[in-house]
């Protein structure tokens, strides 16, 4: 697991330490980028066709106009790719020594942040459903809580069973009085295989 000392999120408390950051599994973004790849392939084929026709003397469109249209489509695909990346990269679950923070980029201008204190966790379950998730080992982790928000779902994350076990160990690492264990102990407990 990576060291998250250089990472910081908005609303992080002074005595709060990031233990783990979870993004959705890479297969999710791969599926979305497939459309981008198809668009790029279509663009390349279109440009090649225009060039071939122009070389044969069958000019159906002014070559400069064709390049301009191709470049414009490329810009759209470039921006679209980044919008997909933003949606993927800013959907994040942060496990700290005090709580679990869910930051969800729901749409381009819609960002939702919710949190769950570790002492409110009642149960943690993992779900892997389907052939591809089983092969690639990704799925959901559901954290049942005693608070107003009765459950918290980590969607399509890698290694859901490992994350579930790590959260359970994290909760059990708290003292009987509910106090936080030292940060180094919490990190060690979370990373224990």
């Amino acid at each position: 697991m990576s060291n998250y000392e250089s990472c910081h999120f908005k609303g992080q408390r002074d005595d709060e330490v990031i233990i783990h950051i979870i993004h959705r599994h890479w297969f999710n973004i791969l599926v979305q980028f497939f459309g981008v790849a198809v668009a790029l392939l279509a663009l390349l084929l279109g440009m090649a066709t225009v060039q071939t026709l122009a070389a044969q003397g069958n000019i159906i469109i002014d070559p400069t106009l064709a390049y301009f249209l191709g470049n414009t489509i490329l810009i759209f695909v470039w921006f679209f790719g980044f919008f997909i990346w933003i949606d993927y990269w800013f959907d994040v679950w942060i496990i700290t020594n005090q709580r679990i923070v869910n930051i969800e980029q729901k749409a381009l201008f819609v960002r939702e942040i919710s949190e769950l204190h570790l002492d409110k966790v009642q149960d943690v379950t993992s779900e892997i459903t389907g052939l591809i998730p089983s092969i690639l080992n990704y799925g959901d982790v559901v954290v049942q809580t005693a608070g107003e928000q009765d459950y918290f779902r980590f969607r399509r994350i890698p290694d859901p069973n490992g994350i579930k076990d790590a959260i359970m160990r994290l909760i059990q690492a708290r003292t009987p009085q509910g106090d936080l264990a030292p940060t180094d102990t919490i990190k060690a407990v979370f990373r224990k295989p």
């Binding site: 910081h8 301009f68 810009i75 919008f83």
Partner: protein
């Protein structure tokens, strides 16, 4: 006719700039790692800059009179 095309292109270009600002804003404000954000913003701005520069150059190089003459059988 040329002024209409330039106006349309102006609107399109503003859209490019708006999308660029939106993406840079998100990465600079919401990234958890500032180092990673700097790298991705640099990559994005350099590539976007090159693409937009090429786009403007190509737009200005298009012989609009010829294009319209061939499409509408008239000149601008």
């Amino acid at each position: 006719m040329a002024s209409i095309i330039f106006a349309f292109y102006g609107v399109l270009f503003l859209g490019y700039l708006f999308a660029t600002l939106f993406i840079v804003f998100h990465f600079s404000r919401y990234s958890l790692s500032k180092t990673g954000a700097s790298a991705i913003i640099t990559l994005f701005l350099v590539t976007t800059g090159a693409l937009l520069l090429a786009n403007v150059s190509l737009f200005l190089a298009i012989p609009w009179n010829t294009v319209f003459a061939s499409v509408f059988n008239t000149s601008l």
